[in-house]
């Protein structure tokens, strides 16, 4: 009997114990990936189809991913919904598992996603039976459209990708977590384990990390640190954070007279 998972994360009918997801790009060696997965316990890894060439031994990151880890193919390089859909279909035709992270980037200067095209691609691919996880700028209207279009989870960005700047979009993420019933996975921009911890305390279902781990001098240790921070943040969220008071409680309250005598 497999051990029962306490507080499982469920996406597309699959149950995960870990709430850390990792990317597979930017590593000095793909051979580092198994150790990073092992040390962090991450169970989902994104892989850009554009970077995979199954016939080239030196360019097959998939060969470094153990079979129990869920591969989430992404549509990196897609410039519109049509290209994202074609990439997703190519991935499935190549033996993919039907899980697709939609990235549609029409802005190559900042790599910010195109919400409109992302919604379109989500609708088409969800209808074709893909488990669709769209990456988008945290905009509540777009999040609602993605949910309506059949997304299995939504992946708003915490800061522009690759910047390691932390939860710069915090207020907008909080609104989305409050309003959208799908799992909200904070993707992009998280630089420190404390950023991921904070996202989890806010109620994120999971965090996806790549740059902060891959470009660290010690990627496996950094991945482990993120995993611990994510566990701590999640535990705090479940325990219920104490309400924060903006001001000290006054010793002479202004409305105290209502209760006097």
């Amino acid at each position: 009997m497999p051990e029962k998972i306490i507080d499982p994360l469920v996406i597309g009918g699959r149950v995960f114990a870990s709430r850390l997801m990792i990317g597979s790009g930017k590593y000095a060696q793909d051979a580092q990936i198994p150790e990073i997965l092992r040390r962090s316990g991450a169970e989902v890894i994104t892989v850009a189809l554009r970077r995979v060439h199954a016939q080239s031994p030196q360019d097959n990151v998939l060969a470094h991913i153990p079979p129990n880890v869920q591969v989430l193919t992404n549509t990196s390089g897609a410039r519109d919904a049509d290209e994202a859909v074609r990439i997703a279909r190519l991935a499935r035709a190549a033996g993919g598992n039907g899980w697709i992270k939609i990235e549609v980037i029409t802005d190559n200067k900042y790599l910010l996603p195109d919400g409109e095209e992302t919604v379109k691609a989500t609708r088409i691919l969800a209808a074709e039976g893909f488990v669709v996880l769209p990456y988008f700028s945290p905009d509540l209207a777009v999040a609602r459209k993605l949910a309506d279009a059949g997304a299995a989870a939504v992946m708003p960005l915490g800061a522009p990708i690759g910047t390691n700047r932390g939860l710069k979009t915090r207020e907008l993420l909080e609104i989305i977590m409050h309003e959208i019933s799908l799992p909200v996975i904070v993707d992009a921009g998280l630089g420190k384990p404390s950023d991921a911890c904070e996202a989890m305390e806010m109620g994120a279902a999971a965090c996806l990390l790549n740059t902060a781990i891959a470009t660290s001098p010690d990627p496996a240790s950094m991945a482990e640190a993120f995993a611990e921070a994510i566990r701590a943040g999640r535990r705090a969220f479940l325990a219920g954070l104490g309400a924060q008071n903006l001001q000290a409680q006054p010793s002479s309250p202004l409305t105290g007279f209502l209760h006097n005598g």
Binding site: A28, R50, R51, V52, H53, D107, N108, K109
Partner: protein, 367 residues
């Protein structure tokens, strides 16, 4: 609006005053910014920035790690034809040079492509001279059919074409365009392009825009350093990249900083370009456009290429030959220019790994 309009704004610039007017304080302001404008870029290219090269290098390295990680793409050039009707005084394939001319047959393309693919290379850059009726679009489309069997991404470095021809080539499998303006100085351009269709400065300048309108995914720009003062060329190449990125936000824009190399024929009046100048140019470009691709060819020697890698290089050529059929026909040894880094693909892989980076071969699939 084409980039020519931008370029013309600088027509009456007093360049000595322009560069001398930039102070160390102005450089520091540019160095401290996250969003740089063309004036900031000029500051980083100026003589006043030379004492700040280490600080620029640290920032460029950090930005490159963030945006591209510890990876660098390896590609190979493949020369299809050296027939040319242009008389460009700096080029070994100059029509006036008495060299053997050759154009690969489709069978030879197959052999050459298979030999390159055998090394692991998946991104190929195909090159031709400019000879209507020889390496024309029909010939290239035939080559593309063969090349698609061996490579995942095909870039072209050919004559400036019109939008319809770019569209045909893209439909045939091309996803990237490399097109060097050679010089952004129209007067020098006119002097070094003696005869032939390439003499039309404005037509060549607008070629990347035509390719972008036709739907090309990526464009690689460059000035051939040595024709004019390098700072001016670097400034305009960066401005050109910025112009294209603003006009075509989805376009992947990259640049090269090719220095003139020895070649058949003569070109005497070369402007000096030192290693320090190349470093300053690449660093300024990285800081100006953090997502800009930076391509480094075998015009530079092995040691210098290895040292430039961590400053922000995103693409390196490997196993290069600049001769037509040079990968499989050793008797064809007259190249467009002499390469300075003869390392083959395994040697380049080892060098990239030794620098702490992952050499990658696959970064696109035709979709």
């Amino acid at each position: 609006m084409t980039f020519l309009t931008e370029l013309e704004k600088y027509q009456s610039t007093d360049w000595n005053a322009f560069w001398q007017g930039i102070s160390a304080a102005r450089v520091q302001t540019a160095l401290g910014k996250s969003f740089l404008n063309p004036e900031d870029y000029a500051a980083l290219l100026s003589p006043a920035a030379v004492p700040f090269l280490e600080a620029m290098a640290q920032k460029a390295h950090a930005l490159s790690l963030q945006h591209f990680g510890k990876t660098v793409l390896l590609y190979s050039p493949m020369y299809l034809s050296n027939f040319c009707t242009n008389t460009c005084t700096y080029c070994g394939f100059n029509a006036a040079n008495k060299i053997p001319r050759k154009q690969l047959t489709l069978a030879e393309v197959e052999t050459e492509a298979a030999a390159i693919a055998q090394t692991g290379i998946r991104h190929i850059l195909i090159l031709t001279g400019d000879a209507p009726g020889k390496a024309d679009v029909a010939y290239l489309l035939g080559c593309l059919q063969v090349l698609k069997k061996h490579f995942l991404s095909i870039a072209i470095e050919i004559y400036a074409a019109d939008q319809a021809d770019y569209a045909r080539l893209i439909a045939g499998g091309v996803d990237q365009l490399t097109l060097y303006q050679e010089t952004y100085n129209p007067r020098i351009y006119d002097q070094v392009h003696l005869k032939g269709p390439k003499k039309d400065f404005a037509y060549r300048l607008a070629a990347p825009e035509r390719a972008a309108l036709a739907g090309i995914r990526a464009v690689n720009l460059g000035a051939l350093l040595g024709l004019d003062v390098w700072r001016r060329e670097a400034f305009f190449t960066g401005l050109h990249a910025d112009f294209l990125q603003a006009r075509f936000p989805a376009l992947e824009v990259s640049l090269s900083a090719p220095r003139m190399r020895p070649h058949a024929g003569t070109f005497a009046d070369i402007q000096p370009v030192s290693d320090t100048d190349i470093v300053q140019y690449l660093l300024a470009a990285r800081l100006f456009m953090p997502r800009l691709g930076l391509t480094l060819s075998t015009r530079e020697n092995a040691d210098f290429r290895d040292r430039l890698l961590p400053l922000g290089i995103t693409r390196l050529s490997a196993g290069s030959s600049t001769a037509v059929g040079g990968h499989t026909q050793p008797e064809n040894n007259i190249g467009q220019f002499e390469i300075a880094d003869p390392r083959n693909v395994p040697e380049m892989q080892a060098a990239v790994r030794a620098a702490g980076y992952q050499p990658i071969f696959t970064d696109w699939h035709a979709i």
